[in-house]
């Protein structure tokens, strides 16, 4: 009885969200709701449309049909930059950072994007203490404070994942969309990230795409299973584990991570459109 349904109004919700690429329906009539304080995991076999869903929610691509609502406000079809300013933060499946810039500058840009009005743009960047402080706090949060002065491209893969999260946090979003934040991370980094995600889920509405099933079942409050672009099942982790359709479509299949590369390619194609 500890898991009484979370009935607060959703922070981010979709209704009938659909995206076609030519004849392919990448996301088909998807309605989900992300609530404050809830870690919502989206799982599904490769090619299920998970990354396309994130791309739709973050404004990278426009939906063919359906609605996206952010705190009750219709934001369907808004460009990515505006959605970020409205409080949707995302990380990328493929590491997407400013490699030739310092770690601090990567995060500082994120803070600047949402805090500095046009009238303040002529201030000297090295003297914009408020912006730098916020960026440093975000770095501290993910455990990268000591690397602030290094070039982002020189970080290890796991550290770059942490940097991605810091860049998301630096914009103080209400919704976090994290697309495989653990991909390629070592066991130690995974452990640190697990703690961080649990922590973040308390303060945000958090959508997580992840292939590592043990991890997902350990951290998720709620799960959506996608297959071929549509929702196959939705509910609490226990219910999903017991769901026969899910077992057949996904959990019973061979190791879900075996063909991750395929899914990655698909996600990219989605993002490029």
């Amino acid at each position: 009885m500890a898991d009484a349904p979370n009935t607060s109004a959703p922070v981010l919700a979709t209704r009938g969200l659909t995206r076609r690429f030519g004849g392919l329906i990448a996301v088909n009539d998807v309605s989900i709701a992300l609530r404050q304080g809830e870690l919502h995991a989206v799982i599904g076999p490769n090619g299920a449309g998970k990354t396309t869903l994130v791309n739709l929610l973050s404004g990278e691509i426009r939906p063919t049909a359906g609605r996206v609502e952010l705190m009750g406000r219709d934001v369907t079809g808004e460009p990515a930059w505006r959605l970020t300013r409205l409080g949707i933060g995302r990380s990328f499946q493929r590491i997407n950072i400013f490699a030739p810039l310092t770690v601090l500058e990567n995060v500082r840009l994120s803070t600047q994007a949402v805090t500095v009005p046009a009238s303040g743009l002529l201030r000297s960047a090295s003297r914009a203490g408020d912006v730098i402080e916020r960026a440093e706090r975000a770095l501290d949060r993910v455990g990268l404070a000591a690397a602030a002065g290094r070039l982002a491209g020189a970080l290890s893969h796991g550290e770059q994942r942490q940097l991605e999260i810091a860049m998301v946090l630096a914009s103080a979003p209400k919704v976090l969309l994290l697309d495989e934040p653990l991909a390629g991370a070592g066991p130690e980094e995974s452990q640190r990230m697990t703690l961080l995600l649990k922590d973040l889920a308390r303060e945000h509405a958090l959508l997580l795409i992840e292939h590592d099933m043990d991890f997902v079942f350990a951290v998720a409050d709620r799960m959506t299973v996608m297959a071929e672009g549509a929702i196959l099942a939705e509910g609490k982790p226990e219910a999903i584990r017991a769901n026969r359709a899910v077992q057949q479509a996904y959990l019973g299949a061979a190791s879900p991570s075996s063909s991750r590369e395929e899914d990655r390619g698909r996600g990219e194609r989605g993002g490029g459109q």
Binding site: S58, E60, P79, A80, W81, R82, T84, R85, R90, F92, N96, I97, F98, A99, P100, L101, E105, R108, L109, S110, Q112, A113, V114, V116, G120, L121, L122, R123, S124, A125, S126, A128, V131, M167, S171
Partner: protein
């Protein structure tokens, strides 16, 4: 983009001082050539804001330069020079407005298409003056040179003195432009341009409306090209459609390439070297463009960071680490281009 540490600033100061005393040691022919080099440096520097700083390669930049020169012509009555205080702001305004229009449309495209669209707009403006009687048609037109005047007071210059005065005005404007751009690059705005150059897609995801930032950079670059174009009219007292043409735009790109894409002073070094190279090539051969092309090619291959990266050449590092070697000689000669 900007020089680091006191060494770089000292080197820049020395370079500026050298340019400042140059007219004392050379004939008036070279003073005029120097003025032309400084004007080219302004044009290349203004383009660097797009190319090196923001990652936008435009092939239509000379259009704003030429438009500014024609503006001076169009507001100057026959044989009566107007005050620079009137012609300069007007030329900048016209160039900036044209850049706003061209930028607003061309920045909707990216990469190769952006290059082609800016080329098309540049050529449209070229033909506006080439094919109409607006500014004397294909032959261009002479105009009275703007006066170095403040209100009713005018600098009392003889014919002999004027080239020197124009040289120093050009040098002062170039210096101002460099300092202004250096400050701009240090600002929060400058950091956004850097981010756009590195990864525009990520900047959008971070919440930057990159289109607006690129448009702002495009307008500033156009406005500064207007300063250069105004100086041309002031220097030569003559305008022709070639000022707006793609050849001039490509020259400005070559100067950037020659001097260095990654620094703000690169285009200035590039413009001075390119002008000197043209002069030398013309004096020794009839195939000036061939020689120019070969030299630019050689520099770009040997020095990926252009002439401003010459200090990072291996031979220089080795000479710094060990005893001076004879090899430093030819490389230095190349730097003088």
């Amino acid at each position: 983009m900007l020089p680091r540490g006191s060494g770089g600033i000292v080197a820049l100061g020395l370079g500026a001082a050298l340019l400042a005393v140059l007219p004392l040691f050379v004939s008036s022919y070279y003073v005029e050539l120097g003025t032309y080099a400084l004007i080219s440096a302004m044009l290349a520097l203004s383009l660097q804001l797009l190319v090196g700083c923001t990652g936008l390669v435009s092939l239509g930049h000379a259009a704003f330069y030429g438009l500014a020169a024609y503006t001076v012509y169009l507001v100057t009555p026959a044989n009566v020079g107007r005050s620079i205080l009137l012609t300069l702001p007007l030329a900048m305004l016209v160039a900036a407005l044209a850049a706003l229009l061209v930028g607003a449309l061309s920045l909707r495209t990216r990469g190769f298409f952006f290059l082609m669209v800016t080329l098309a707009f540049g050529q449209m403006l070229f033909f506006l003056f080439h094919d109409t009687k607006l500014g004397g048609g294909t032959d261009g037109a002479y105009l009275a040179r703007p006066l170095l005047a403040i209100a009713d007071w005018q600098l009392p210059l003889t014919r002999r003195q004027r080239p020197y005065a124009v040289y120093y005005v050009a040098l002062a404007l170039l210096t101002l432009m460099y300092v202004g751009l250096a400050l701009l690059l240090r600002s929060l705005f400058g950091r956004v341009l850097e981010g756009i150059r590195v990864n525009e897609h990520r900047m959008q995801a971070l919440g930057f409306n990159t289109y607006r930032y690129k448009l702002a950079a495009f307008v500033i670059a156009g406005l500064l090209a207007g300063v250069a174009g105004h100086m041309w009219a002031m220097h030569r007292g003559f305008v022709n459609p070639e000022l707006l043409g793609w050849h001039r735009s490509a020259e400005a790109l070559l100067m950037i390439l020659l001097g260095g894409l990654t620094t703000l002073h690169g285009p200035i070094i590039g413009a001075l070297a390119y002008t000197a190279l043209g002069e030398v090539a013309q004096s020794i051969t009839e195939r000036k463009l061939l020689v120019e092309g070969l030299v630019v090619l050689a520099v770009v291959i040997a020095l990926p960071k252009g002439l401003s990266g010459i200090g990072q050449l291996r031979i220089f590092r080795r000479t710094a680490a060990t005893a001076p070697t004879a090899k430093a000689g030819p490389a230095e000669a190349r730097a003088d281009g």
